[in-house]
Amino acid sequence: MRLLRGVYEGPGSHGILRVAASMRGVHAVLRALPSEGYFPALYGASERSGEAAPVTLSPLGESQGGSWEPGDLARDLSNVVRRHPETEAVILARSEVALLSGEPIPETSLPESEETGQPPKLVTCEWEAPDVGETEAANLALENLVKAHAQSRRERSPAPTVNLFGPPVFAPAAAAEYAEAERLLALIGVGVNARVPLGASAGDLGRLTRAWANVLLYREVGESATLYLQDECGMQRVTTPMLGAAGTGAALRTVGELCHLSPKKVQQAVWAELARTAKLPWYARLHKPETFRDRRVAIFGDVTYPLGLGYALAREVGLEVVACGTYLGHLERDFLFHAHTFTDEAFVEDDPEEVAARIEASEPDLVVGTHLEEGVADSLDIPFLPFCAPTTYSPFVGRPLMGYTGSSVLADALDGALGLTEEEPEVLEPAGMPWADDALDELAGIPPFLRGRARRLAEERAHELGSEEISREIFLQSRL
């Protein structure tokens, strides 16, 4: 039992729904209380595509036997096929209440679809449990879907192609990340066989084995599916995160090797891009070393982005990564192994207050994180870049962070963030003001992520009143 101020991840069912809503022809049935439906609203607000979310609620515990009301899970599953004849796969997600209620999954088979003449595949996610979080569930659900559809008979495409395993819906600028990767692969002469899961259809999943290799853009969701394809079909995978110019170059070179391209041709394409599109190395060279010296950055988020951005910021830009963390406990070993290549301060934590405290303690000049870290950066009065999932940022035109274009986006953001603080006059006079003990006691009662701001307000108030010390009264006044 834990007391939290917020959560980074939703329940497992949310992850399954995200994967299902990313794909075409996949319909999800959510077994939950009628009061647990929020995916369609979130989907509308963040995707703004105009499509209704492919999710049907099967209300738990409301079925009044014999009536045709929804509530009977087996019947609701087959009704989906009847109502949506274009469905090629039905995936069942159960909310935590449904899981805790111990209801068994009905033994059922789906009726034939009117459009295809075959019953759609049914994926039941039997591994679902209350302690499987959103990301892990998305990863396993994608593996199940790939298993259900992928054909082991291997017949490679004549020209080299790869599958892209990237982020699902709700990830910031997901579509732009796939597009950038696809653009770069085209430059070295590699086609994209399928984008998984965003925009993939069941047919695409069946054709996955035609590709020469799998490129894992977002390992949080694609890990198990690509491992399955590696074990079953011998498809090799590229796991280097395509973040920063170095990471992108490394990933492209590996793809080139796996697709038997001439290393020279790949290198030429990389150089051409470095000259034209990739501005991060250019940015790092243009600025004087003093801009970056002793600049401290704290990074927190999922796995791919903190690792990729951390590496790029530490090595390519030369910032000091003073904290780098993830909330994905099930990827802890992997994360720490990679993070230790560029920082000593890697950690795993999923309590936003603890994360805030760690970031605060590391005294950074810049915070790169999820939307939950915005408050910390705000209270420390330092710039913040919302580059890690989950974010509430869902623009109409997504800008990639991956690939060479992404490195330029990163350079722009850094230029804005680091340039701003540099010019700030370093007065901050009230900072050293003494605090009375009882005032400090009051301050300790405030959640860490609000503490910085409260401290600042109190000091401003004391300044206004012309007081030398912050007493408990001044502190309480400043909080009104």
């Binding site: 039992m1 939290l4 209704a52 979310a53 302690d131």
Partner: protein, 443 residues
Amino acid sequence: MTILNESGASDVLSPLHAVNGLAERLASALVVVVGTRAEAHIAQSLPTAPSPTLPRTSLNPRVAFVVLDPEEPPQQGRVASRVIETAAGLRGTELVLLVAGRSAELLGLDAEFEARLVARRLDLPCAAVNPDASYGSPGALSTDLEDRVLASLVAACPERKTSDLLENASPTKRGGLLSGFIGRGRDEVRAGRSRPVVLLGASTSPESAREIYAHLDRARVDVVGSVPGERAGDLPALGEGTVVAVMDPNLTAAARAAEERGARVVRTLMPIGVDGTARFIQDVAAEAGPRANEQSRARAAWKGLEPLRNRIRGKRIFFAGDTGFEVPLARFLADAGAVVLEVGAPRLDKRFLATEIQALGPDVDVVESPDWRGQIGRIDAARPDVVVASPGIHVPLVARGHLCRSPRDFLESGVHGYEGARRILELLVRTFERAEALDSVNL
């Protein structure tokens, strides 16, 4: 008027989305959501007022989540001690709400017990709120949490004993929301020996509740307080002999809680729209003692609305909302001259809303538990001028070229009273004006 039960899966936003809004509205309350990760995620991901724009997420210090470990059932009293720790870190907490739904129940948490423990240890009212408690009929409304919270507040109100009836209601318990009005000629009103009235509802728009209060005050009705009050701790005495006037159509559980306390709940129209407000004031006044006649006022209100009515006359409106306010809004708009094509009600308490349903015009159809796909199909077929749409179907409907408004927009603008009637019409007129302006652009 016909009621059709479609027995479908309705699009209803999870009631838990209201947690942040309630914490803001009930200043000085601490809201603790107890459950699994799912509840915390819902409460955090959904914006205070759901609209098809970005969900903004800000961490509200007055909202905390206790996430239970599914493997390890919580020990009795552990949740309470966590809540007490949290409350200790916050100044000026007057009320603690322990929101614990089905998952906490399944994990073996006795929320009532924990709430009693918190109340005893902190010496503050603490109420357990179960957002998933059954209403007897299937389906949910996105405003269920507000209803359950008000029900808990009603239960937490100080008891009103029969002996109090002889004396005047204790003056210290009044105030808060109404304090601006109280004191003016109050003694003279009390001489009229009206029964004390408690207003229930309007949690999203306290301003419109003040208007209702002013009208009742004018009718010499003795309003002793409201639930919710201005601050979370302001609770009027409520019990036998109190008249409870329910202002919102979704407050089934809160009204039942008031009845269980022995209060008399006035069965009348909701004070939404001109006729609704007039009937409400008349009936509440009649129940409380003094007689009131609102006819001339209602007539004047209708007359004042004439220019706005001309703008919406003949407009075809489709209600596909999830708040439970759809029936009274449809009633008013049909009276004002609009054509109401269909009123969707994800859950309809026919007994509680009997007066409202009777007052619906003959041409208005109500669809109970509508299927959201069926709704989209009927909207496509009927091509209404405006759809009041729940969040899940809002964006798909806009994409199909329909003009949409979120039902929460109405609630937040304040629908109660004669001025509320004006605000409802103005909101619609604004919607049409903007759509016309955008349509006139040559793209």
